[in-house]
C-alpha cells in the first residue's frame, strides 16, 4: 500500500499489506497474519525443490540488477563442504529508494522468514543482514524481531523442530553508500574498507570469508514466503508487461508528487498510473519535467518517456532508462536540472570508494565542472568535457558507481541541454558562489 497513504485500487498489495500496522511487527501478530507458515513448509521440503519453486516464479532481484533469484541460488554448491552464507542487503542507500526500510520497520518477520527460507535453500546456516547505519529504527525493530523469532523456535539450532539450524546475525553499517554493492558489502562484513572486489571469483564460489555466498536484497527475500505460500504460478501470473518481469514491485516515489510514498504494483503497470493515479500527480499548478525511475543511478527520463513506459525491467529500458531499485524521483517544472545533476554528481564523488582512477578522479572533476557552470563560469567546451569524462567513467571500473555518476550527466545534457546553455550564456543567475 502507498504507505503512508491508504492503498490505491491500482496497487497489488502483497509485501506492503501490513505497512503501518504495529501488530504486524510482533511475532504473535505476524503469525496471526499467516506468518511463518512458509518457513514451516520450507524446512520440510528439499533445498532443490525450493530453488525450483523460486525459479519458476520468475522472481528477480529487487536490489537493482534484476538478476533471476532462483538461478542465483542454483549457483551455490550442491554439497555443503564449507560453510555457506546468505547475506541480506539492507543497506538501502540509493537516492530515491526507501522501500526496504518500510519492510524492516513494519514487517520485520517477513524479512526474517524470507532470510530463513533462502538460507536453508542455499545450504547456509547463517545469514548476515547488513543494515545501513543510519537506519536506527529498523535496526531496533529487526533486533527485537530476531530475538522473538529465536525464542519462538523459528530461528536457532532446531528450526520448528526440523533439526535445521538457521541463525540470523544483524550487522550495522557505518555510512557508506558503496557498501550496498554486494562485494563491497562482503568486505565491510569482514571488517574491511567497503571496496568492491573484482569478479571473478563470484560470490557463489568465493564470497563472504571466502565461502560460497548468496546476496539478496530485502525486498527479494521478503517476497519468497509469499511464493512458497501461494505458489510460483500465482506469482508468475502477476504480470502486465513483459513475461520476464513477474510479481509485485514496491515503488518508492519521492520528489514533486502530491502523495510520495511506497506503492506496490504488479510488474508492467503503466508508469502513468503510478505518477498520477497513485501519487496524485505533481503539486497543484505544476507539471512534471523529469523522472528518474530507478534510483539516482539510472538515466533521467523526460515526462514523455515516463508517461509512455510500462513499469517493469524491460519497459523502462525501452524508454531509455532502467528499473534499478525502483526509487522514482519526480521533478516538476520548478526544478533546476543542472543544480540537481550537480548534486547527484557530488553524491557519487562523496561515495566513491577511491579504488578506480576513473571513479575517484572522474566523479570529483565532473562535480567541479558542474559547479563551475552553476557559478556562471561555464564554457561551451564543458559539454564535450563532461561527455568525455562520462565516457571515460562508463564501463571501465570495478563496479558501476562510476557509470552511475555518468548516467544523469549524459542523459541530463541530452535531454535538458538548454538549461546548461542558459547558465553558460549568462541568461540565468548563478546558483552557486564562484569556485
Amino acid at each position: 500500500m502507498g504507505y503512508p497513504h491508504p492503498s490505491h485500487p491500482k496497487e497489488t498489495v502483497v509485501l506492503s499489506k501490513h505497512f503501518g500496522d504495529p501488530e504486524a511487527r510482533t511475532y504473535a501478530g505476524w503469525v496471526r497474519h499467516g506468518g511463518y507458515e512458509a518457513l514451516r513448509k520450507a524446512v520440510g521440503m528439499s533445498r532443490e525443490a525450493i530453488v525450483e519453486e523460486v525459479k519458476a516464479s520468475g522472481l528477480r532481484g529487487r536490489g537493482g540488477a534484476g538478476f533471476p533469484t532462483g538461478l542465483k541460488w542454483s549457483f551455490m554448491p550442491k554439497d555443503v563442504v564449507r560453510p555457506h552464507y546468505l547475506v541480506c542487503n539492507a543497506d538501502e542507500s540509493e537516492p530515491g529508494t526507501f522501500k526496504d526500510r518500510e519492510i524492516m520497520r513494519w514487517t520485520p518477520h517477513a524479512l526474517i522468514e524470507g532470510c530463513a527460507i533462502a538460507a536453508y535453500a542455499i545450504g547456509a546456516e547463517r545469514c548476515y543482514v547488513y543494515i545501513r547505519g543510519e537506519f536506527t529504527e529498523p535496526w531496533k525493530v529487526m533486533n527485537a524481531a530476531v530475538e522473538e523469532a529465536v525464542a519462538a523456535g523459528a530461528l536457532g539450532d532446531d528450526v520448528f523442530g526440523s533439526g535445521k539450524r538457521i541463525e540470523i546475525v544483524l550487522h550495522r553499517g557505518a555510512g557508506a553508500y558503496i557498501c550496498g554493492e554486494e562485494t563491497a558489502m562482503m568486505n565491510s562484513l569482514e571488517g574491511r574498507r567497503g571496496n568492491p572486489r573484482i569478479k571473478p571469483p563470484y560470490p557463489a564460489v568465493a564470497g563472504l570469508f571466502g565461502m560460497p555466498t548468496t546476496i539478496n536484497n530485502v525486498e527479494t527475500l521478503a517476497a519468497v514466503p509469499h511464493i512458497l505460500n501461494r505458489g510460483a504460478a500465482w506469482y508468475k501470473a502477476l504480470c502486465l508487461g513483459n513475461p520476464k518481469s513477474t510479481g509485485t514491485k514496491l515503488v518508492s516515489v519521492c520528489g514533486h508528487v502530491q502523495r510520495p510514498g511506497n506503492y506496490e504494483v504488479t510488474m508492467g503497470t503503466p508508469m502513468r498510473d503510478i505518477l498520477y493515479d497513485m501519487c496524485g500527480g505533481p503539486p497543484a499548478g505544476r507539471t512534471i519535467k523529469a523522472v528518474i525511475p530507478g534510483g539516482s543511478s539510472v538515466p533521467i527520463m523526460t515526462l514523455e518517456e515516463a508517461e509512455s513506459a510500462l513499469f517493469d525491467y524491460e519497459g523502462v529500458v525501452e524508454k531509455g532508462s532502467m528499473l534499478g531499485s525502483a526509487g522514482m524521483i519526480v521533478m516538476d517544472d520548478r526544478t533546476d536540472m543542472v543544480y540537481q545533476i550537480w548534486r547527484l554528481a557530488r553524491f557519487y564523488a562523496h561515495e566513491s570508494c577511491a579504488q578506480c582512477t576513473q571513479c575517484r578522479e572522474g566523479t570529483a572533476w565532473t562535480t567541479r565542472v558542474l559547479e563551475r557552470i552553476l557559478a556562471g563560469k561555464g564554457k561551451q567546451e564543458d559539454f564535450q568535457l563532461l561527455l568525455d569524462l562520462s565516457e571515460n567513467m562508463t564501463g571501465k571500473t570495478i563496479c558501476v558507481l562510476s557509470d552511475s555518476c555518468a548516467a544523469p550527466v549524459v542523459s541530463g545534457i541530452q535531454k535538458f541541454r538548454s538549461e546548461f546553455e542558459a547558465y553558460i550564456a549568462g541568461a540565468r543567475e548563478p546558483s552557486l558562489a564562484a569556485v
Binding site: 530515491g96 547505519g133 529504527e137 550495522r172 571488517g191 570469508f209 510520495p260 557530488r346 552557486l432
Partner: protein, 176 residues
C-alpha cells in the same frame, strides 16, 4: 567542491587525552559474545567501533589502538577502516549530532533550507562545527533512505521525518 559534508574526520591530529579502555566489564563481554557470530575477529571491527563511539562519543587515536589490540589488527589498518565510513567520528562532536539529508530527492523538496534553519537554531553557524555551548554539531549527509519523507534528519539515534524549517526550532529545543 562547494557544499561540505562537514566531515568530522581529517588529516590532523585529534586532541590527545588519557584513554580509558572501553573493552572492559560488560562491554568486553558483549564483544566476546560477538566473536561467536563471526568466523574472524576482524569481522567484529565495525561493531567494535560502534561500541567505542557509543561509549566515548568519538573514536580517538588511542581508542583505535585499543580496538586494534583486542581484534589483533594494527592501528593503521583500523584507521583506514574508520576513515572509510562517514558515521564514525575521528574528532569530538557536540552532545547531539545532527545529520541532514541534502541529496537530490530531499534537495528538491527544500532540504537546504532545513540546513540553514538548523545551523541558525543550534548556533553552529557552519557545517561540521560544534555550537559554542557544545550542544550540537550539524552535518550534511547523503541520502538517508527516507526520500518520501523530506527532509529526514538524524539527531543522534532519533530518525525524524518530514522536517521543515518551521519545525526546526521545536526539534532543537527537545535536545539539551
Amino acid at each position: 567542491m562547494s557544499g561540505s559534508h562537514g566531515g568530522t574526520a581529517g588529516h590532523g591530529t585529534a586532541p590527545a587525552e588519557e584513554h580509558i579502555p572501553v573493552f572492559t566489564g560488560p562491554t568486553r563481554a558483549r564483544l566476546e559474545q560477538l566473536f561467536t557470530k563471526y568466523p574472524t575477529r576482524q569481522a567484529c571491527l565495525l561493531p567494535a567501533l560502534w561500541m567505542v563511539q557509543e561509549a566515548r562519543g568519538w573514536i580517538s587515536e588511542q581508542a583505535i589502538g585499543e580496538v586494534a589490540d583486542v581484534l589483533e589488527l594494527t592501528p593503521a589498518y583500523v584507521k583506514g577502516v574508520v576513515t572509510f565510513y562517514t558515521m564514525y567520528h575521528t574528532h569530538p562532536v557536540g552532545r547531539h549530532f545532527v545529520q541532514v539529508c541534502t541529496t537530490s530527492p530531499c534537495n528538491i523538496c527544500g532540504a537546504e533550507d532545513v540546513v540553514k534553519a538548523l545551523l541558525q537554531e543550534t548556533g553552529c553557524g557552519e557545517l561540521g562545527a560544534t555550537s559554542p555551548d557544545g550542544r550540537f554539531t550539524v552535518i550534511e549527509v547523503e541520502c538517508l533512505g527516507a526520500c518520501g519523507f523530506p527532509t529526514p534528519i538524524l539527531v543522534d539515534d532519533d530518525f525524524i521525518e518530514n522536517v521543515t524549517p518551521e519545525k526546526v526550532r521545536g526539534i532543537v529545543q527537545r535536545y539539551q
